[in-house]
C-alpha cells in the first residue's frame, strides 16, 4: 500500500481509538470536574464493562446483535452501580480528601482487577460484533463496525452534553461543581449528586468498553491502557473542561494511532506519558482549563 492510503488507514484507526478514548476520558473528567477526585480505578470500570459485556453476550441466545444491545444496557448500569457503592462506602467516608481518595482508588483498582481475575479468569476472550459489514475502499477493506463505533460514541457524547447542559439533573451537577457549599445551601443533596456523578463516569467507561470489546478482546488486565490514556487526555485537555477533553481525545487518539502504526505503540506511549508530565509541570491548566 502506498503511503497515502496507509496514512488514511492509520488515521481511521486513530479515529476509532479517539472515539472510545473520548467516552472514557469524559467519564474521568466529569468525576474530577464535579467531585475534585482523581479516580485511579477508572480503567477497571472500563475493564468491568468489557467483562460484563462478555457475560451478557454469552448468556443471551439469538443473533449477536441482541446480546450486544443487552450488553450496552446492562454493563453501564452494573458498573455504575458498583461505582455508586464504592462512592458511598469509601470516598464519602474519606470526605473526598484528594490524596486519600487517590490511595483508596488504587486499592479499589487492585480489588476490582483481582475480582475479575477470580470470576472471569486470566484468559482474553472475544465478543462477537453485532453485525459484520466490510466497507470496500479503493485501497483497503475496512470494518463497518469500527465506523459504527465512532458514530455511537459521538451519539453518546452528544447525549451527555445535552444532559449536562439542558436537563435539570445536569444543572444540579454543574451547580455542585461550581460551588459545593452553595449548592448544599440551596438544598441540593450533594452526597447523592456525587454518587450519581461517580456512577455516570464509570458507566461512560463501561459503554466505551462494550463498544470496543468486539474489536479488542476482554481481558482482566485491559484497564491499564485506557486509564493511562484517559489521564493523558484529561490533563492535557484541562481537568474539568469537557470541550478540552474532546479536543485532546481527538489529538491523542489520532497521533497515538498514527505513531503506533508507523513506529511502535510503546514509543507512542512513552511520548504521551512524558508529554503529560511536562504539561502538568509547565502548564498545569492544560490546553483549555482556566488558570486557577
Amino acid at each position: 500500500m502506498d503511503f497515502g492510503p496507509f496514512l488514511l488507514l492509520a488515521l481511521m484507526e486513530g479515529l476509532v481509538m479517539a472515539a472510545v478514548l473520548a467516552l472514557t476520558a469524559v467519564g474521568l473528567s466529569l468525576v474530577f470536574g464535579v467531585m475534585r477526585v482523581v479516580n485511579v480505578a477508572h480503567g477497571e470500570f472500563f475493564m468491568l464493562g468489557a467483562v460484563a459485556a462478555w457475560f451478557v453476550t454469552s448468556a443471551m441466545p439469538g443473533p449477536p446483535a441482541v446480546g450486544f444491545v443487552a450488553a450496552l444496557l446492562v454493563a453501564p448500569l452494573l458498573v455504575g452501580g458498583i461505582a455508586a457503592l464504592a462512592d458511598r462506602l469509601v470516598l464519602k467516608r474519606l470526605n473526598y480528601d484528594p490524596e486519600a481518595t487517590i490511595v483508596a482508588t488504587i486499592g479499589l483498582l487492585y480489588i476490582l482487577q483481582q475480582a475479575a481475575l477470580t470470576i472471569y479468569g486470566p484468559d482474553a476472550r472475544p465478543v462477537q460484533a453485532p453485525f459484520e459489514w466490510r466497507i470496500q475502499f479503493p485501497w483497503f477493506g475496512y470494518s463497518g463496525y469500527k465506523l459504527f463505533v465512532v458514530f455511537a460514541a459521538a451519539a453518546v457524547l452528544t447525549a451527555v452534553w445535552l444532559f449536562m447542559t439542558r436537563s435539570r439533573i445536569g444543572l444540579v451537577m454543574r451547580a455542585t461543581q461550581i460551588d459545593r457549599d452553595m449548592a448544599r445551601a440551596f438544598g441540593i443533596n450533594v452526597d447523592r449528586v456525587y454518587a450519581g456523578v461517580f456512577a455516570m463516569g464509570a458507566g461512560l467507561a463501561a459503554v466505551a468498553a462494550v463498544l470496543i470489546v468486539p474489536i479488542q478482546q476482554a481481558h482482566y488486565l485491559m484497564g491499564g491502557d485506557p486509564l493511562l490514556l484517559s489521564f493523558i487526555v484529561v490533563i492535557i485537555g484541562g481537568l474539568g473542561s469537557l470541550r478540552g477533553t474532546l479536543v485532546a481525545a481527538l489529538l491523542i487518539g489520532l497521533s497515538d494511532g498514527v505513531i503506533s502504526v508507523f513506529f511502535s505503540p510503546t514509543l507512542a506511549k512513552i511520548i504521551a506519558t512524558l508529554f503529560v508530565a511536562l504539561v502538568l509541570v509547565f502548564r498545569p491548566q492544560g490546553l483549555f482549563g482556566a488558570k486557577q
Partner: protein, 309 residues
C-alpha cells in the same frame, strides 16, 4: 537512648535469626530487609516530608538496572552496588527538579508519569535491557570482593549490613536538625517558608535521599537474587512502598520494616490460597486509608510510645 537501643536490638535479632531460620524463610528475610530499605527511602519522602510520590519504581529500577548491567558487563558487584545507589539518587534528583514544581495530586501524577515512561523505556530498549523477560546476572558477577552474594550466608550478611546502615542513617537523619526541617515542611509549608527555609531545596533533598535508598535497594536486590526484570520498574513497585509505609506507620523509622515484613508474608500466605493474591494489596490499602492511616507503629506511638522516632 531508648530509641537507639530499640533499633540496635532489632539489628541484633535479625543477626541471630539467620542461624535458626529454615532455608525458605532465610531467603525471605533477606528479601524483606532489602525491600525494607526501599520502604525506608519512601518513608523519608512521604512519611517525613509529606511527598506522596507514585514514581519510586523509577528509582528502584534505576538502581537495579544500573547494578545489573554493570555487574554483567564488568563482572564485579563491587562497582555495581555503589553505582546503583547513585543512579537511584540521580534519578530522584532529576525527577524532583521538575516534579517538585507541582504539589499534591499533580505531584502524584507527574511522578507516576515519569515512572511509567521509565518502565516503557526499559521495554522499548529490550535489546539492551532484556525487556519484559529481563536477564540473569551470572554468579561470578555477584561477588562483593570475597563475598559471594549468590550463597546464603554472605547474602544474609550483606543484606543485614545494608539494612543496618540504612536504618541507623535514617534514625540519625530524622533526629537531626535537617530531619526537623523536613517534618516542618510537611506540617506547615507556609510557616517554614517564613522561617527562611526554601521549600524546593528541602523537598529536593528529601526526594534525592529517598532515591539513594531506593537505588541501593534495587541494586542489592539485583545482585543478591541474580535477576533483573522490567516488572520491578512497573507501577506495582511504586505502590508497594506506599503500602508498606502506610501499614507499618508513616513517619516512624521502624514502620517501613514492619510494613514490608507484614505485607510480604501476607501476600506469601494468600498466594498459597488463591491466584488473585494481589487482592490483599487492594484490601490492605483500602482498610489502611479508611480505618488506620497511622499504621501499626503510628497508632502505637499515638497511644503512648511517644518516644518512638
Amino acid at each position: 537512648m531508648k530509641a537507639l537501643a530499640l533499633h540496635l536490638a532489632l539489628i541484633a535479632v535479625l543477626f541471630a535469626l539467620q542461624f535458626v531460620l529454615p532455608p525458605y524463610h532465610h531467603t525471605n528475610i533477606v528479601r524483606v530487609m532489602v525491600l525494607a530499605v526501599f520502604a525506608m527511602g519512601y518513608n523519608i519522602a512521604f512519611g517525613y516530608t509529606g511527598l506522596l510520590s507514585l514514581g519510586h519504581a523509577l528509582f528502584f529500577g534505576a538502581g537495579m538496572y544500573t547494578a545489573g548491567l554493570l555487574a554483567t558487563g564488568e563482572g564485579t558487584a563491587l562497582l555495581a552496588l555503589p553505582a546503583g545507589v547513585l543512579a537511584g539518587g540521580a534519578a530522584a534528583f532529576a525527577v524532583g527538579l521538575l516534579a517538585l514544581r507541582t504539589a499534591g495530586v499533580s505531584f502524584m501524577i507527574v511522578t507516576l508519569m515519569f515512572a511509567q515512561a521509565g518502565y516503557l523505556t526499559v521495554l522499548y530498549f529490550g535489546a539492551f535491557t532484556g525487556g519484559d523477560e529481563g536477564f540473569v546476572i551470572p554468579n561470578a558477577a555477584r561477588a562483593l570482593g570475597p563475598f559471594d552474594l549468590s550463597t546464603d550466608t554472605p547474602r544474609y550478611f550483606a543484606g543485614l549490613a545494608l539494612f543496618a546502615v540504612a536504618l541507623l542513617a535514617n534514625l540519625a537523619l530524622v533526629r537531626s536538625p535537617i530531619g526537623r526541617v523536613m517534618v516542618a515542611m510537611r506540617e506547615n509549608e507556609e510557616r517554614s517558608r517564613m522561617l527562611g527555609y526554601n521549600p524546593f531545596t528541602v523537598k529536593l533533598f528529601a526526594l534525592s535521599v529517598s532515591g539513594l535508598y531506593a537505588g541501593a535497594a534495587g541494586a542489592a536486590y539485583a545482585l543478591m537474587f541474580g535477576y533483573v526484570g522490567a516488572s520491578f520498574a512497573a507501577i506495582q513497585y511504586s505502590i508497594l512502598p506506599l503500602l508498606w509505609v502506610l501499614l507499618g506507620g508513616a513517619g516512624t523509622v521502624l514502620g517501613p520494616f514492619v510494613g514490608a515484613l507484614l505485607m510480604f508474608y501476607l501476600i506469601d500466605l494468600s498466594s498459597s490460597v488463591t491466584t488473585a493474591h494481589q487482592m490483599v494489596v487492594g484490601v490492605a490499602l483500602l482498610a489502611l486509608v479508611l480505618f488506620a492511616p497511622k499504621g501499626v507503629l503510628g497508632a502505637l506511638r499515638d497511644r503512648g510510645l511517644k518516644w518512638l522516632p
